[in-house]
């Protein structure tokens, strides 16, 4: 399987922007590949929670040109024996620790377009990467590797042997029963919207879906709307957002703040009674 690289490299981490962690990753990329076009996906992933990184990456890579390289580093096991992987999926390349981060990417990609390789640490010496720090593989391994791949000096198939599967995600897919679907809030966005792992396609089994969420003051039942502007300010509503997942919003306000809910809260969909 081959991919033509296009010099776009995206970065997704839990490093924040308050220290130069991300900056020095970019410095290492430009040192090896001055033509790189580096785009930040986000650096505000909940620290040490690979699930959120994988969720956003699985929902975002499609908006980049094929042949982009996506580096994702949420890596509580850095410096331990955890593996690092290179995944080809859908014409894109992904580099990440093998800690469940890329599970959602692979789950959504066509299997015949997917290839998983475990990065061979012996290879790193041949790329002059022979003394990485024990705590910052983003800068010392992933960034240089992305640059080498983007420059075409190394190919994904050179990185190590193909393996059949990744480590699983720590969050399971939504459970689907006859009249009932249960998912979970993966993240709260900047507007306070509660974003779930329930894909739009799962709602097709419902004639008239009702979304239930447990708030402190009792269960809220919400109907599905098309857009935020369909409600009055302060009104709660459910909608399929622009990343094709179910979210709970409060018009021009924060649903997370109003309902005091966040990451991990269950969201249920049932047939209107």
């Amino acid at each position: 399987m081959t991919v033509d690289m296009n010099s776009v490299i995206t970065l997704t981490t839990d490093f924040g922007l308050s220290q130069p962690f991300v900056g020095v990753m970019k410095g290492q990329i430009l040192t090896r590949y001055p033509s790189a076009k580096i785009i930040d996906l986000t650096h505000a992933i909940t620290p040490h929670w690979p699930v959120e990184a994988g969720f956003w990456l699985a929902r975002s890579y499609q908006y980049f040109p094929p042949g982009s390289i996506h580096v994702a580093v949420v890596d509580p096991g850095v410096g331990t024996q955890r593996a690092m992987v290179c995944v080809l999926a859908d014409g894109h390349v992904f580099l990440a620790p093998d800690n469940g981060l890329l599970a959602m990417v692979v789950a959504r990609a066509a299997p015949e377009s997917t290839e998983i390789r475990r990065i061979d640490l012996n290879l790193l010496a041949t790329l002059n990467l022979n003394a990485p720090s024990a705590t910052f593989h983003g800068r010392d391994i992933f960034a240089p590797l992305a640059a080498e791949l983007a420059a075409g000096r190394v190919l994904p198939c050179d990185l190590g042997e193909a393996i059949p599967r990744l480590m699983p995600s720590s969050v399971t897919d939504p459970t689907v029963e006859a009249q009932r679907l249960v998912g979970v809030v993966i993240t709260v966005d900047h507007f306070g919207n509660l974003i779930s792992n329930i894909d739009a396609t799962l709602l097709r089994c419902f004639k008239s879906p009702v979304v239930r969420i447990e708030a402190r003051e009792g269960t809220r039942e919400l109907s599905l709307h098309r857009t935020y502007g369909d409600g009055r300010p302060g009104e709660y509503l459910a909608l399929i957002n622009s990343f094709q997942v179910l979210e709970v919003a409060c018009v021009e306000q924060s649903a997370a703040g109003g309902l005091r809910l966040g990451r991990g809260a269950p969201i249920e969909v049932v047939e209107a009674g």
Copy 2:
């Protein structure tokens, strides 16, 4: 009216950087125009408040080369019938929802250098933009449109018919009377400075201007200084800042925190008594 594009595209939104909203806009721009030079103006506009985006844009575009494209998306009405506009002003191109956001830009530009066009939604199909989401026009319409404009594949005059005026801003311009000028705090900056909508030129009518602001503990009267270093740490002062508007600052501290004032607080200028 024509503009020579220069491949610079700036982005101003209320999306924050904690999710990949801005990242996927950039992905869409690079997909259509790989040579784009994308610059973030800010993504921390107060959510759903187009006034602040327009204020900063009107005060910032001059620092970019002529022929830059400025995309601003603060869009509580996304997915409803609100229009989208393309404004040419002063040799720059602006794309935004028609919700008052661009009013300050147009107000400050020379009328003969200004052209307003309402974006024709039928045009979008010809650009392969025929199924935008209902909630994320930044990614699905504005970003691709900016890329097409920067690439020169579509011209501003192709985007729709010229209209005489924009929707007005929800904040009115400062009122000017004989001996008295009243404006409002538009935003609080990172240092806690209170930034008003009072332009430097308005102060020229005063021989010896005194700035009045209502704090919880009573009215503060402040004289105008040239720079922060003119005061002692902790001292309040007023100055014309580098964006040529009046601001209230507290040397090496936060004026907003100290006075417990913020967005919307009135600021008055009177002649020294």
Copy 3:
């Protein structure tokens, strides 16, 4: 002394990203030098504290290609008589106010690779920089100057006369005695790790170093580990981080939050008793 520029310009400020301060600096760079590759090191330096900017810069520039230009603006004295300097060190170029910010950079570079020049304000007129604002030299002087240097239209040696030394930093280097080393927390990172100014090399004098830190509940004694994964979640440990300084961490939690310590807290290293 000469340096071949490579079109990379890094930016380090205390401006935050919530207003367009950084954006307009980039606009000014691109206006003068469209080929610039601009990288944010960080814009979240503690406001008005040049020490932290210098610390990160001294620990980060090595990850960028030689010939990069590093602009650092933490500048409480902007608009006063404080000087501005251009430093060549180790094949890199640094521009900053002369307020101690660059002291750590110069302290760590080989003296024979180092040259300090005081920027001659008369020069600015020849670069069309004749009316800078009194409050925003980042946009009005440093950014254009970096662009002119990167473009090769002006050389570091043109910027002003060489001076023997910089203003000193307000934080002194760690004190080293026979069996005892005392440093200080310079910054708390995104994960809550307490990052000190104690360089890894200083620990070589200890056979079995123990790190002591004064928390509210008493003195903590910590042994040195190799990486975060060496401890259990919630365990405190000390380690030499990837920037080669001593830090105190709490596995998968915030050491700063748990110990209620931050910038300025002393950190001591002693021989195990």
